[in-house]
Amino acid sequence: MRKSLGIIACLSAFAVAGCAVSKERVTLLAPAQSGKDIGGVVIEYDDGRMGYLGDVSQQAKLRSGKAAHLVRQYDEADPQYANFGNDFPSEPVREYFYFAVGKDTLAPSELDRLQAWLNQNIQGRPGLEIEIAAHTDVSGGVELNTKLAEKRAAAVRAQVEERIKAGQITVDKDDIDELPGSLWWAQSIIDSGQDYVARDYRVAVVTIR
């Protein structure tokens, strides 16, 4: 019995020791984006304390313990994180294609530009997806523009699918997603003081992920 208790005690000691050295931490690989002056990552620890990471190669322990809440600043990036940069999926790309006033399809020249851009950017993207969001300018009211945005998104999708059918673009139709925009975008641009942009926001915003 005494021997069994001894073994249990030893195992417990090892378990506690294991917990003590286990890691839970967060490390910044890039600085906080400009304008994010409260830190790229805000930490709320289990004891209610707060911490901030804003500079590249800063690291914070998360788990409670002797050195918890300590933010370390390393001089250079830890090589163990180098692979992470390579293993991220390709960065999404986005481009803008413009409608003529009142039109719900892209003119041939804009469609050609869209096709060339797609062909240039769809390679090397496993799990490819294309998002087509169509927008309007601010003239004409909400109801009219909402319907126009829906028509534009569907029309551009149909135009792209036509070119896929003709073999000019090699994308699966199921990987295309249409997304009618809203007047909210144009309004938000006006609110930000760029009303000259909103006036001409007759645009299909295409994103490749």
Partner: protein
């Protein structure tokens, strides 16, 4: 004084609630992109699915990698992630208004290593990651979370 402001701003960012309707349950919220051969495991509604390239993720999915497995994920807000081997990540909530480009998310890293390059969700300050002991509010950056078992 500045520290007090920072603290209040951080608390507000962590406590803020969404103000707009977001994606519905069952919607595609992201896709698995680059993934090791054979894919990874995605647990959905208690069942195990094979997560290969192009797999459409939903809110509530649990992403699991074994030794030697790795997966890259891109979400509809353009957040990119790398899930390293021997990891388990729960997509507890993910709501994103694709028209207004805003929303909220919370993911839990139970074990392993996950790299994050934050996208449009981080602008709202409502992108959170939970670990066994802490909550991280993401304001826009690239980082790695590590949780040992």
């Amino acid at each position: 004084m500045r520290n007090l402001f920072l603290l209040l701003a951080a608390i507000f960012a962590l406590a803020a609630q969404p103000a707009v309707a977001q994606t519905d349950a069952g919607d595609t919220i992201g896709r698995i992109k680059n993934v090791t051969q054979g894919g990874i495991e995605v647990v959905r509604d208690g069942g195990k699915l094979q997560g290969t390239s192009g797999f459409r993720l939903r809110e509530g999915d649990i992403v699991v990698t074994r030794a030697g497995q790795r997966a890259g994920i891109t979400f509809v807000d353009n957040t990119r992630m790398v899930v390293a081997p021997k990891s388990r990540m729960i997509i507890s909530s993910y709501r994103f208004d694709r028209k207004r480009r805003t929303g909220e998310s919370q993911m839990t890293i139970e074990r392993g290593k996950v790299g994050v390059d934050s996208g449009e969700l981080a602008r709202s300050g409502r992108m959170k990651f939970k670990t066994p002991t802490s909550t991280l509010g993401v304001r826009g950056t690239t980082f790695v979370i590590e949780v040992d078992e």
